[in-house]
């Protein structure tokens, strides 16, 4: 199998990688870039644990796409959400609202949640449900995940203005 030189920007860092034809983006994130937050689950697009964000901030599944397809592109994984040594508003909301239990699907769920608010800063119930339908979580039934997504903008507001409007 042929190998190719690929340039991939992950969380703002640019990597030159040698990638084979049959590697998926998931394989490359986990095994070549060595970021393990993006999880390996069903690898057939049904469970959502491998979800990352593309350059537009949309949720995509890294298990269902050739890594070579992403030459020259930018992606964000769960490790890329923190800024200035601080967790992202969505990550904080997930902790505060108890939206995390076993935590295995959590990276995929948070990247899906981020994509929801990237597209709709104050999402409707329909938008939240649509954005979460691609991930499977038996621990939480998604109830507290939805609460965290609804509250995310308040955490964001708090960070931007320094004032608390968190209740």
């Amino acid at each position: 199998m042929a190998k190719h030189l690929v340039t991939l920007t992950v969380n703002g860092d640019t990597y030159d990688l040698v990638v084979s034809d049959n590697q998926t983006l998931l394989d490359v994130i986990r095994d070549e870039v060595n970021l393990k937050g993006t999880k390996r689950g069903c690898t057939t697009g049904s469970c959502g644990v491998c979800c990352i964000n593309n350059a537009k901030g949309e949720a995509v599944l890294s298990c269902l796409t050739h890594a070579l397809e992403w030459d020259g592109e930018e992606i964000t994984t769960i490790e890329g959400l923190e800024a200035d040594g601080e967790l992202d508003a969505m990550q904080k909301a997930f902790i505060e609202y108890g939206a995390v239990q076993c935590g295995f699907c959590t990276p995929g769920v948070i990247m899906s949640a981020r994509a929801i608010v990237n597209a709709h800063p104050e999402p409707t119930e329909e938008q939240i449900n649509a954005g979460l339908a691609g991930v499977n979580c038996r621990c939480t039934g998604q109830i507290k995940v939805k609460e965290a997504i609804r509250e995310d903008h308040r955490f964001r507001h708090k960070r931007e203005t320094g004032s608390g409007t968190q209740d």
């Binding site: 034809d21 998926t24 057939t44 697009g45 949309e58 397809e69 691609g134 991930v135």
Partner: protein
């Protein structure tokens, strides 16, 4: 019993790595068509990857070459033509078409069908061409190769047998795609290109009643565009699924008509996801065309669905149940059309 087997034990369930193949990213449509001609049946076109990689993991697809068309900008355009039709590139992502003013914005049934596809994640990757060419599905085949070895092969895997309907002379895998019924109801045309030849085929004639060779697409040929004529807003798409998000349908219907109120002058009703190809319902359409969309006519039309559907397999649901929901779908579609 005592039948003896000496068999190698290929495969290891769902492959975590994709099987060996080479990947080619087409830089132009010409280059793509040339590669497809050269590689013929050894090639698979990859756009979003959501169906192709899925099937490669199951080793249902073992292409020698995967040809990516994600870089072809020509196939990602949406244009309005002089006659008011809309021409959509086959490599447009489903997510981008939902709110596009010329696509989902103009054709409500098309929009509803796109929104019904799987999940946001899949729609952010999958393309319209991929949805139209979605491999037919069967729960005896859409499992890993190791799993399939528990059975004899079938029509899809080079044996003369169907596990769903044992006596059948053809494959009964179902067309489980959402956009085709809507596009058929809207009277869409497909542009199929291969090196040196282009043809236009009504999408209603694209599908064949055979789960293996389920379309008229020839080796080396690619669906490049979908053209939807200008039509009235009286159109609807409904899908019934075991769960609302991230699911293939148990049955879907699309319908479109002209005219006002109960009086209609033209109607197309299409059922999807029940058999190997979408089914255009002629007799029920005739009934409501003659009698109008009255309660009685709708009941009568729905009753005729059973006859037109033919043999419904029990793939992904009991056949008796799927017949019942087919009737419900048609009834609901006609009632909704009347309100529009």
């Amino acid at each position: 019993m005592g039948c003896l087997h000496l068999l190698p034990s290929r495969g290891v369930f769902i492959a975590m790595l994709l099987p060996d193949h080479s990947y080619v990213k087409a830089k132009s449509l010409e280059e793509c068509l040339k590669t497809l001609r050269e590689t013929g049946e050894k090639a698979k076109v990859v756009a979003g990857g959501t169906d192709v990689i899925f099937n490669m993991r199951l080793k249902l697809f073992q292409p020698e070459v995967a040809v990516s068309i994600r870089g072809l900008k020509d196939l990602q355009q949406v244009d309005e033509l002089d006659d008011g039709s809309v021409r959509i590139g086959a490599a447009c992502r489903l997510a981008d078409l939902i709110d596009h003013p010329l696509a989902g914005g103009r054709y409500p049934a098309f929009k509803q069908s796109l929104e019904a596809v799987a999940s946001t994640h899949i729609r952010n990757m999958g393309t319209l061409g991929g949805n139209i060419c979605l491999e037919t599905r069967c729960w005896y085949t859409n499992n890993s190769d190791q799993w399939r070895e528990g059975l004899q092969g079938c029509y899809k895997t080079d044996s003369e047998l169907c596990h769903v309907i044992k006596s059948s002379s053809k494959c009964h895998a179902i067309n489980n795609s959402d956009s085709p019924p809507a596009l058929i109801a809207l009277g869409a045309m497909l542009t199929l290109q291969k090196e040196g030849a282009t043809r236009e085929v009504p999408i209603a004639e694209f599908y064949r009643a055979d789960g293996v060779n389920f379309s008229v697409l020839e080796p080396g040929e690619l669906v490049t565009h979908v053209t939807i004529p200008p039509v009235s807003d009286r159109q609807v798409f409904i899908k019934i699924t075991p769960r609302k998000g991230m699911d293939f349908s148990l049955g879907a219907v699309a319908a479109r008509c002209d005219g006002q109120g109960e009086q209609i002058s033209n109607i197309t009703i299409v059922l999807g996801s029940l058999v190997t190809a979408p089914v255009v319902l002629d007799k029920p359409a005739q009934v409501v065309l003659e009698a109008g969309l009255t309660d009685d006519a709708i009941e009568k039309a729905a009753d005729l669905v059973r006859d037109e559907l033919g043999e419904v397999s029990n793939l992904y649901g009991r056949s008796i149940y799927k017949r019942q929901i087919a009737i419900v779908l048609v009834k609901r579609a006609l009632v909704q059309l009347r309100e529009l």
